[in-house]
Structure formats: C-alpha cells, structure tokens
C-alpha cells in the first residue's frame, strides 16, 4: 500500500465530531470510487464504531481517535481504520444474530443495534492491536 493512497485524520474523542467524521469517510471513499449507497453504509458503520469507542472505551479522558482511509493495491476494496491509543487490546462486544436483533427490537431492548449494524454494513471487519494502538479495520468492496 503506497503512502499516498492512505489519508489519515485525527479527531477529538467526543460525539460532537461525528458529523465531521462521516463527511471525511464519504469524501475519501468517493475519491477511491465507492458509490453513494456504499458511502452511506460505511459512514453509518464507522459512526457506530466511533460512537461506541467514544462513549464506552474512552469516557472522561482527553483522548483522540484517528480515522484512516486507504485503497487496496488491487483497487478492489477501500479500507478504513479507526484507531486509538490503549494499553491493551480492544475486546469487541459479541455480534447479535439477525434473529436476536429482531427479538431485541420487538422487546424494545436497544442494546447491540450499533454493533449489529457495523457488521451488517461492511464486507469485512478486523480488530488489531499494535504499537500501543487498538485498530478497528473495516473493508468495503467497490461496486465495479
């Protein structure tokens, strides 16, 4: 992956940046050739991931999150990374099944909607920890 194919941006870890984060995701994804629906779905998935990190992993800390966007060498996928400094690896919540999420909605139990959406709206998701940073990597295939 060449350096020029990767764009990074740092945001304060507060929900007031979510709109700006989504704009970044959409702008850079469009530059790499994602269509309108893919951009909407990615912006939502990254918003949900960032919201979870900001509200549940980094509360009450003067923290930052970084969002990076890159094209794969074969230009078939766009890869986004959300990362933040941490002393240990991030342990994501289990992903509810489609049936489980529908049951929760019917029973008005809102937990798990965000993590379900993240997994439903991207093609691949990876969790990584390296050099003192937790990384959530979300991949979306280009519709070519």
């Amino acid at each position: 992956m060449s350096k020029k194919n990767r764009i990074e941006r740092i945001f304060p870890a507060t929900t007031s940046i979510l709109a700006e984060l989504r704009e970044f995701v959409a702008r850079e994804g469009a530059r790499f050739g994602l269509d309108h629906l893919a951009l909407h779905n990615l912006a939502l998935a990254i918003d949900e991931a960032a919201t979870n990190i900001i509200e549940h992993v980094l509360p009450r800390r003067a923290s930052q999150i970084m969002c990076a966007c890159s094209d794969t060498p074969n230009h078939k996928q766009v890869v986004y990374e959300i990362s933040w400094e941490a002393e240990e690896a991030y342990r994501p919540d289990p992903v509810p099944s489609s049936a489980e999420i529908r049951r929760r909605v019917e029973e008005r139990t809102p937990g798990g909607l965000g993590v379900y959406l993240i997994h439903a709206l991207v093609d691949e998701i990876e969790y990584d920890y390296r050099n003192g940073r937790c990384i959530i990597r979300l991949k979306k295939r280009k519709n070519v």
Binding site: T15, A19, R22, A43, L44, D47, T51, I54
Partner: protein, 120 residues
Amino acid sequence: MAQGSRFATTVTDTPQGVLVIALAGQLDAHTAPDFERLLEKTIREDTRTKIVLDFEPLEYIASAGLGVLMGFIEEVREQGGDIKFGAVPEKIYHVLDLLGFPIVFQIAPTVDEARGMFAS
C-alpha cells in the same frame, strides 16, 4: 423548531389530534439527546400520543436515534397512542429494515397516509 448542531425538528398540529414531527438533518449520538428531550416534552408534559414522524427531510439516522424511538413506543401505546413513520427515504428504510423496525412500527409511504392510519 428545536435546533441541534445538525438536526432540527418542526412540529405541526394537524386535525384529529395527530402531531406531525418533521425530522431534518442528521440524527446521531450527538443529536439524539435533543430528539429525546422533544419526545419527552411532547409525550409526558404535553400528553400528545398520536405522533407521525416525517422522515422526508432526514438525511441520516444512527442507532442512537433509533434507540430513542424504542424507548418511547411502549409508553405511547399504553396511553392509546402510537408513533408512525411517514416518507422514509430509501437508504434510511434500509437501516430500519435491517433491524426489524417495520415489525414494530407502522411505516407509510407518505405523511398523509401515516396520519390516515390513526383513523383506520
């Protein structure tokens, strides 16, 4: 009109006691508390329980906004009312459908049809 940073609502009283709340802009974890306060005031202080949400001007909704709706629907129905959705843009409908919201909430193609559901 209640203003959030990038979220706004317009409330219109219509015949048969149906309140139409138009949602505009972006409803996410930052703006969802504005929406929650509006519904709290509408339902608990103003005791209005026949509500149509006009989604047409809404550009974006995240799970935080959907969680607000889930938090009020039972309370409204216990009082004989309902929250119905009208004019939901396709990309937002896709999100609602993924989560099974059409099973719980009645969704009409237009705001007028959503209002009409209260009469039927």
